[in-house]
């Protein structure tokens, strides 16, 4: 199986794309997908292509946390429109597009947009995954991403609450047959974990063994599909 991991590269994290690629190759990944909020400003992106034996794909994260917060503060609901336009502008340029659900608005907008590949839902007790979001994700073939970094970052009761929320979201994802992805949410080369370690962590968190393997290989399959030219659903230009 060829496993892929989602990472953020410098300047949005503390490791360059080539360092992340080097570490990921040592850990046994077939490729990494760099998902920065501003993919045009990745530091020495071409240096990462020089690392042999690993596929380095530049994707994008369509997050508008700042825009959403500013609009909420001003009493407007324009964050949704800003996110939609950002998704539209990034889709044609990058083969992988993900959205982090910082707010309910962002989650709903992303779930209803077929241009998005993956939605990372924050597993928070106060904002669980809703049936409407799960149904919309199913209709638009979105994969649901689970960021396992809180498992490393948190200890004690916050982690217990996060695990409870994750199990709740996972039940809903299984009910609606959504595709699952897991990631360590690496913002440094020290945050990367090997596929086996990530699978062990996911299984402790409540995933099943088959699900974790599929979850780690799904990003690679999606990138492969998005890189091909499609004239319409099921019609490929060769």
């Amino acid at each position: 199986m060829s496993y892929y991991e989602l990472v953020s590269a410098f300047p949005e994290s503390s490791a360059s794309a080539s360092r992340l690629a080097l570490r990921a190759r040592q850990l046994g990944y077939a490729g990494i997908i760099i998902c920065n909020r501003d993919p045009a400003r990745i530091f020495m992106q071409e240096a990462a292509q020089m690392i042999k034996g690993i596929d380095v794909v530049v994707g994008a994260e369509a997050g508008c946390e700042e825009a959403g917060a500013a609009n909420r503060a001003a009493g407007r609901s324009g964050g949704c429109r800003a996110l939609k336009s950002r998704i539209g502008s990034l889709r044609s340029k990058y083969p992988f597009l993900m959205v982090r659900g910082y707010s309910d608005e962002a989650v709903r907008t992303a779930a209803e947009d077929p241009n998005v590949d993956m939605l990372i839902h924050p597993c928070e007790g106060r904002r669980p995954l809703t049936i409407a979001t799960a149904r919309a994700s199913r209709q638009n073939s979105l994969a649901m991403g689970f960021d396992l970094s809180p498992m490393m970052l948190m200890r004690g009761s916050p982690r217990a609450r996060w695990l409870e929320s994750l199990r709740h979201n996972l039940d809903l994802v299984r009910k609606f047959h959504l595709s699952i992805m897991i990631t360590a949410g690496a913002s440094s080369h020290l945050d990367l974990r090997s596929p086996r370690d990530l699978m062990a962590m996911a299984e402790i968190a409540g995933f099943e063994a088959g699900e974790t393997e599929q979850a780690l290989s799904l990003p690679g399959r999606l990138v492969d599909l998005n890189c091909r030219k499609w004239a319409g659903p099921g019609v490929e230009i060769l």
């Binding site: 490791a15 360059s16 080539s18 360092r19 490393m152 440094s188 020290l190 945050d191 370690d197 962590m201």
Partner: protein
């Protein structure tokens, strides 16, 4: 605990691991962090069933003993460690074996001397500048002048490679590869 009959003894496995950290770590600190992670993740009852013991640790690679039925739990325990006494670290499992001898032969080769240089060489590039802390092969750890460059990930240093530094800025001292 020693059992009366050898057949009743718990079967053991040995996990070889490698640590990547921003500083020097002692075996005592590492073991206390591993125990803390295990207690936090599985509780007292879980930790009682799977007793972990550090067999050896040379500062970079080590060997950990665990119960043969708890491979997944032990992997998760090591993977959920993020820092050891405030020093950012990452533990990666190299492999698992049934005997100490076999684990040493397969996964713990004789250590080569690590080139740890901190001779005050500087990097001056358009996007990043700072002092080199250490280099391991093509890997370079850099202490940035602007400390806000590594905020959000709790690391002291920026992780770069020599590929990032090729074709360096004209103000960079040293060779043409930017070092």
């Amino acid at each position: 605990m020693r059992s009366r009959l050898p057949v009743l003894r718990d079967r053991r496995r040995y996990m070889a691991f490698e640590i990547e950290a921003e500083g020097e770590l002692s075996p005592k600190d590492l073991m206390s962090e591993i125990h803390s992670s295990q207690f936090s993740l599985f509780g007292d009852a879980g930790a009682g069933q799977n007793r972990l013991k550090l067999i050896c640790f040379d500062g970079r690679r080590g060997l950990l003993r665990f119960g043969h039925r708890y491979l997944k739990e032990t992997r998760a325990t090591l993977a959920s460690i993020r820092s050891v006494r405030g020093i950012r670290a990452a533990l990666h499992t190299k492999g698992v074996s049934g005997t100490i001898k076999c684990a040493r032969e397969k996964y713990l080769p004789r250590l080569s001397k690590i080139c740890a240089e901190s001779d005050g060489r500087r990097i001056e590039l358009k996007d990043v500048s700072g002092c080199i802390i250490r280099t391991h092969g093509v890997r370079v750890d850099l202490c940035p002048d602007d400390r806000s460059k590594s905020t959000g990930s709790d690391t002291q240093f920026l992780g770069l490679t020599s590929f990032d530094l090729s074709g360096g800025h004209e103000d960079a001292d040293g060779t043409a590869d930017g070092l």
